[in-house]
């Protein structure tokens, strides 16, 4: 598998954080295949720039930052990571037949996320996934605090409405 040539620190990072980065990437991209691509690209970029990791304990948020930037760069270049409408996800939803309610809720929330703009999705994941404060979001995205507050509150409201609507629709069936 070629594992011998990977430095031990990198191997540790992969083993410890790959699934975390994948979860984050899955919520960003909306598909398992794209999320895996993004996760792999994130670790490739991390290896190339490992000297920039100040403190191994902050590796998780550092990796999230790389993943987020990779995602935004991809979108600006207009390649890959197309968020698909619900119809195209029918096959993935079939997997949920066996009925873990968390997974079903997870799909509901993913559909709601997919309906948001990239900027809204990124800001929401920074808030919920990275638990970043409004101030940290502003610093990392390089936008004014007031803009963060406006975008974040609108994105949260939109997400909540869509999740609630989907939940109601689901319970009506």
């Amino acid at each position: 598998m070629g594992e011998g040539s990977v430095p031990p620190l990198i191997e540790q990072l992969v083993k410890r954080y790959a699934q975390d980065v994948y979860r984050y990437a899955y919520r960003l991209t909306g598909s398992a295949a794209d999320a895996e691509d993004l996760t792999q690209e994130t670790f490739l970029a991390a290896v190339k720039n490992i000297h920039q990791l100040a403190n191994p304990e902050s590796a998780r948020s550092w990796l999230f930052t790389i993943a987020r930037n990779q995602f935004l760069v991809r979108h600006r270049r207009g390649r890959g990571t197309v968020v698909r409408p619900l119809g195209d996800q029918a096959e993935e939803i079939m997997v949920l037949e066996s009925g873990d309610s968390d997974e079903v809720d997870g799909e509901l929330i993913q559909n709601a996320l997919n309906a948001l703009s990239d900027e809204q999705r990124v800001i929401l994941l920074m808030f919920y996934f990275e638990e970043a404060s409004y101030r940290e979001i502003a610093e990392q995205l390089g936008i004014p605090i007031g803009t963060v507050m406006s975008r974040l509150s609108r994105a949260k409201e939109a997400l909540r409405k869509k999740v609630l609507a989907a939940t109601r629709q689901d319970s009506d069936l």
């Binding site: 996760t39 079939m94 409004y134």
Partner: protein, 291 residues
């Protein structure tokens, strides 16, 4: 541009501020506390939003794990590191907020090691060239012997093959069903279709070729009348670790794919289907009753 907290509407402050973070002296937090003091009903709205946030965060972080992900990343990193040139690093993808001087102790040790290793490379190359010029024939012989021995004694494990098949299956979905129709263009004779696959009236099968773990494989793309899709990967390879009949439950699952493997004499089969265990089971003949 600096924002005056007084300009921020109530609902934005309530949505964006968490009680536990930041300093109480934060001007936005001070402003929110002032408004709550003036309108105590805001406190309960804030509490409710916090509870909803906890639940939304939990839902967002609930994603099924991706099986075999770590192995695939390490494998790819190993490949990339082997072929990488020693010059320069690609900063285009680094976090925008990373400072050039932001180098910590843990990473510095590794970065130092890597720099040292690069300096050693040219010296090692000269030494290696000299040694290999003297010993080329001996090393060549030993290498050939080791390579043959490895080929004989180290077949890839079922999980390695299955992970690669899952990856190929998901990455080549665009090519699904674009191969040769089995009815008009028969596949190579060595790639026998498995007798364990269940076909229905109206099932369509095409075949194409692929490379799995450095072995040529024939891939049968099967579309069932229901629209369910699956690919049967056929490898002419003796893999004793494979079971001699298809497992009723998939041995590997990703969020999109279910996969099982077995062998029939010296042919290895891997069935990858788009969907969960029930879809996978519909691609297999029902197990025979035990007599």
């Amino acid at each position: 541009m600096d924002w005056d907290p007084k300009d921020i509407p109530d609902w934005q402050l309530l949505e964006c501020l968490r009680p536990h973070e930041g300093s109480p002296k934060d001007p936005f937090m001070e402003e929110l506390q002032r408004r709550i003091a003036a309108h105590p009903e805001l406190a309960s709205v804030w509490r409710e939003l916090q509870q909803q946030d906890v639940e939304l965060a939990r839902l967002l972080q609930t994603v099924p794990p991706r099986l075999g992900l770590e192995e695939r990343i390490i494998s790819r990193l190993g490949t990339e590191l082997r072929i990488a040139t020693p010059s320069g690093s690609d900063d285009a993808t680094t976090p925008d907020n990373v400072q050039p001087g932001w180098v910590g102790d843990g990473a510095r040790a590794l970065a130092g090691d890597q720099l040292h290793a690069k300096r050693q490379i040219s010296r090692r190359v000269w030494i290696a060239a000299g040694v290999s010029a003297i010993c080329a024939s001996v090393l060549g012989g030993v290498g050939l012997w080791l390579w043959r021995r490895r080929r004989r004694t180290g077949p890839p494990s079922p999980v390695e093959i299955a992970n690669e098949v899952a990856r190929i299956f998901e990455q080549t979905l665009d090519e699904f069903g674009t191969g040769q129709p089995v009815s008009s263009h028969p596949p190579p004779a060595h790639a026998r279709f498995s007798r364990e696959i269940r076909l229905y009236l109206g099932s369509t099968i095409t075949w194409r070729q692929a490379t799995v773990a450095s072995n040529r494989a024939v891939v049968f793309d099967i579309t069932q009348p229901s629209g369910e899709r699956g690919s049967l990967f056929v490898l002419t390879l003796n893999l004793p670790d494979f079971p001699s009949f298809p497992p009723y439950f998939p041995q590997l699952q990703t969020s999109r794919t279910s996969l099982g493997w077995w062998r029939e004499s010296d042919i290895a089969y891997l069935l990858a289907v788009l969907g969960g265990p029930r879809v996978y089971q519909r691609f297999l003949k029902p197990p025979s009753p035990i007599t």
